[in-house]
Symmetry: C6
Subunit: 302 residues, 6 copies
């Protein structure tokens, strides 16, 4: 239900898995929060639908690990529910921050797909490349205006530091885009009865604080890195990485020595899998050894 | 009577509540200040009228609390009256400042709606997004020119730091817009008999002082935060938040530990109300518990 | 005789008060300086004439106070006379500086109206808002060119720091406009027999010194603030503020504690007058009390 | 197979040497890494084909020297293989850095030619000269878009510091281009099944770190300078520089005193060869003496 | 012979005083330097001719005072002669510097008028106001190109700091114009047989040194201020200021206490003359008293 | 043979002196270096040919002095020969640096004229005045492209600091032009068999080092000033300055006290010659006295 203009088009895209279709067809604002958790595990984006553009951000699945991550996910879903269910909070905003590769965009995209909001838009820097400052602001403004025309919308501002063209050397950034965001995130929804949730994402929280950006969000949430062996274990198991349990224990023990983003762990696992397959000439079935995993780990600068 | 071009159109918008209509139809400059206080409580903006665009800024009502806030409101109304009633002060200006969320714009908007000025304009940053500097100045200039064509006008400059595109890192700001404001706020009304009140609003008073902006205003007023338990109590009661008095006492006691803007308090109250309703499946009638309120409070980073 | 293109149009505007008309019709360069003082008190700008645009700058009259102010006025008039009467000084320039609200523009405008120069132009920042730098310079240049086509001209550069878009934070300013002024103020009148007096006005003298601007003026004069009780008394009497002499003594005693611009004193007086009138429901006739005056004084941040 | 739009055009360019043709015609994703090493030695770019534009970067051949250089080459080839063979890592990126003249571009170009990727693009600063910032970003963006339309692509970003117009004095750089690279190097390939390897090249690693560029690459590799006599010896032998072994020993002993890029060594050798030829009037056959070589060495500021 | 396009037009403008006409008509390159001194005193610019535009710069005459000033004038004339008479020095340049009002432009203009060069051009900042940087450079370039088409030319760069838009605060300046001057002042005259003398004028020598400008001039000369009583006396006598000798002695004694530019002294003298005339109602014939002179002196901030 | 588009046009320009014509007509790449030295003394540029535009840079001849200067000239010619004679070094570059007036451009221009390269281009700042940055880069790029179309080319980058618009105050410079040069000087000649020598010239070596410019040149050479009496003597004799040998000894003794560029020495000599001629009324035949020479020397600030 991403990149949709109206609720009718939504129905085409969601497809045939009963429950989701039903929820969209009988658009009912008062869903309890339990629906979200259900939806999140149930949604199965299908090849070729626009939903894929959001699902690209969590290709390898959304792997839960530890209570910290769960708390963040739960609060995000509570806010999604608050805007959906309540008529007196027509505008809310939340900022997700955390290290690069910690899975912020994956989390936001997965929750958005599960939210059953009739309109979800992701604003990303790749859409702004090479445009003049005015055109960048115009693009962002247009997305907000589109949202104002929909009864219930979510706007995800991905990688805000890139939208702002922020660079620490100087520092430099697009003040025009910064100001547009500072204004639009707080701008009262101009039509009575329309509702909007803004989800900001950044991996440069300290820099964004210097720019005064977090203060315009109602709530701020930090998405954690993998830190404890149990965190790593949860992801390796969740992603079905083929290592013997005993070897996996040794691997997560090693990994637990320093924090890592979930994205990097998945990349390393995939490389270990491929090299194992190459050696055995029979892909995807072979078990990855501790040594193989560690080799790949060091190749990525561990 | 907001976003009006002439006094005739005013009559269409105000509607049928006798007194207001009368006042507008028989435009009489010599109203005593008591009229204002009356008007402020009496005005009931109706759905669909342009007045709504100003009323969006005080959706949850204008909740008075404590003598400090009252003094600010009273001085603002005195200035509104001075320009309206006196022919020798055709141009006056006042700067409202205070922390974000302290209700500055709500106050100015509510007083403007109650003022019965034939022309009220709110200049806000959202109207300037993505425009060139020259076009921004042009937009502001056009509003002032429009005011010069009306016998009695009020211009509200909302969030001046955003109009200026001010950011502390650098600092950077639009000097063109700053200069336009410095000039226009002091610019003598060019036609004899026309009168104008300029109301500036900022939550970055210290920064605006560095830019020399407060010196061009005749009067400067600070809108306070909620500080004392009694302040919080007044708002919770005023907004009819459904908590038992005893629990409310405990809540305001806790809240009194640090200052908060009225806007945030209303948002937290609404979230507590919604979550209570979710649990009981019967919205708006349930009583909010102390614990529920405090949970929401901490979610918003208290 | 302001904003005139030629001496014929001058006659239309000045009107029927005998002496002024006569002076303009028989344009005689060799007037003694006494004529100026006479003219200054005698000129009565009439509603609807272009002269009004200059008279807007001294609506509440030009109130003399103390010898310092008189000395400035006398030197300014001497320079006006020198350019008018002498063929060997075809270009002179004077810079009036002083605190905001000290009445610099009022003084220059009143002297210009009294000067009987066939062409007087006031260049003000409001005419430049939103223009490109090149267009700003072009506007200023055009006014000088117009002056070069007239036998005797005066150009008033009002609020030079605003023409320059000067802001202390940075500092920033329009170097293009600065350079245009530095060049034009000293530029020899290109046609033999044409004469020009340039009057600059600034309330940011120290900043203008950093920009090297005062050095291009032949003479520099400081317009003083009201400082002594007698200064305040002179203005209150001159403006016919209705206070009992004994109360007025107490008022000026209080006011004498810190300097104030004449503009602010007049504004406060007017507000005191209005509030007195409001209370008694019979405007302009009531006597202002000491207490009323002091209340208004404190409202304006005394 | 450089600067190709589709796999059909590839076949025309590669020519008649059996194995390479075969590999391209039967595009098989699961090649073992050994194929690469074979291909790298086997490819013989022919005069007139577009391949020449990449082969210009290793005109004098790719001369291996020492284990450090071999390790870099091997890891680069492993990444080329990973993207080619694996469907779960559709986007990978590697940054090659090292001193100017260390042969980074030669290595990347040679590996790319040997990779048998259907689409290889080299983005170089010479293509951006004199363009506006927007046009520069547009050029880079277009190359990435082209890659997204091909099943398997490699993009070489040559001399990133020049693409960014980086200069240490200031420092200055094109933030627009920097941001475009930061975004595009990490941008998920927007179509399922398409794969892309990005190879960045820089000789200003520390400066690029200040700009945050290395963090967007998955892997970072340093291409070493020639340091040990054996390194120099390997290159002189590899490039068939005509010196008697005994004299060559003395030469490499001297050269081993300080590090040098392979590019400079080849230039010096060529100059020594030419001067020897000039003296004997019979080019290419004469033996270079130790003295001749050292003379040329000092001419180049050794 | 100023602002001329060819030698024919020169003849029209110079007029009927025999010697000058003759010199121009029989354009003879080998004049001895004595001719210059003669010409300088002999030339009498006539009303209405283009020559007047240069003569505007020495309206009140060129008053010699003291040996320092004479030495500067003599060297300038020697360079004018060198370029005129010698075929091997087709390009020479000299920089005149000194305090504002010291008479640099007057000196250059008077020598240029006396030089009998067929083409003299004065480049001044007033011609550049409001133009884009490119257009400014274009204007300057065009004047040099015009000079290259004439057999013998002089270009006067008046007030170089204004041409550069130099301001100490920053500092800021037009680098484009600076570079154009740095290049053009040294640019070899591109046609054999054409000759050019460039005369630069600045009152900001130290700032121009920071910009590296003096190094492109072949010779640098400082025009002095009036310093000694005898300097002041020479000018007062030369300008025929009507003071009794005894009073003049007292005046010059006082003036000798601090340096002054010749321009200011002439302005003060003229004001004293006018005020004397005003008092006596009979202009130009009255004697100026010591007291009158000193009054005017203090008015100008002595 | 300067500013030529093809080898045919070359023949027209070189003229009738047998040897040079022959060399050009039978374009033979393998000339020994001795040919260059011969050519350098033999070339006699004729009036009216494009060659003159290069010969303008050494109007007064190329005067050799001392071994340092000879070494520089010899290395430059060796590089010219290397590119001409060798097919494996299709791109080489050399940077000539030294004090202003040391004769760098004269040396490069004279060697270029003698080189018999079919295409020689001098890129100079005068060609870039008033152009936009993009157009400047475009001009430079076009010259390189033209060179790539010719079998053998030389590009002289005259006064690189002026091409870059470098000024120490700031410092400021055109980064676009800098980057274009950094890229183009190293850019591999894109067509097999075409060859290019780039000769850079700068008198701001330290500043260029800060910009990283020297590192892109293969070789760096410093052109010395005149320092020793024998250096000055060589130039005075070479330029046939007419002083008695005994007096010349005294002159060079004095000159040897501080370094001087050859350009200034020639200018001073010419002025001394002219003044001597003026005195005697019979030009070019008179002997210059020691005193005359010294007078001129001091006029130029010795």
């Amino acid at each position: 239900m991403i990149i949709l203009d109206d609720i009718e088009r939504l129905l085409e895209y969601v497809g045939t898995d009963g429950k989701t279709f039903h929820a969209a067809a009988n658009y009912i604002p008062k869903l309890s929060m339990a629906d979200f958790d259900l939806a999140l595990t149930e949604i199965k984006p299908k090849f070729g639908s626009p939903q894929d553009s959001l699902s690209l951000y969590y290709r390898a699945g959304l792997h839960s690990f530890g209570p910290e991550f769960e708390a963040v996910k739960s609060t995000l879903n509570a806010l999604i529910h608050q805007v959906k269910a309540n008529e007196n909070t027509p505008l809310m905003s939340v900022l997700l921050h955390g290290e690069p590769g910690s899975g912020k965009t994956a989390l936001a995209a997965a929750c958005a797909v599960a939210s059953e909001y009739p309109l979800v838009r992701l604003i990303k820097a790749a859409d702004l490349i090479g445009r003049q400052e005015g055109a960048k602001c115009g693009h962002i403004y247009t997305v907000f205006e589109e949202a104002y025309r929909s009864p219930l919308s979510m706007i995800i501002l991905d990688d805000i530091e890139r939208l702002l063209e922020y660079v620490g050397l100087g520092p430099r950034f697009s003040n025009a885009v910064l100001q547009a965001l500072l204004v639009l995130i707080k701008n009262p929804v101009p039509v009575l009865g329309r509702k909007l949730l803004v989800v900001g994402i950044t991996s440069s929280f300290d820099e964004m604080k210097m720019l005064g950006l977090p203060t315009v969000f109602d709530v701020t949430l930090e998405v954690p890195l993998l830190r404890h062996p149990s965190d790593f274990d949860a992801v390796l198991v969740g992603a079905a990485v083929n290592i013997e349990p005993a070897e996996r224990s040794r691997v997560v023990e090693l990994l637990g020595q320093k924090p890592m983003g979930v994205k990097k762990l998945l990349l390393i696992s995939e490389m270990a899998r491929q090299r194992t397959a190459d050696d055995h000439e029979e892909a995807t079935t072979t078990v990855i050894t501790y040594q193989r995993f560690v080799d790949c780990l060091y190749k990525f600068g561990f």
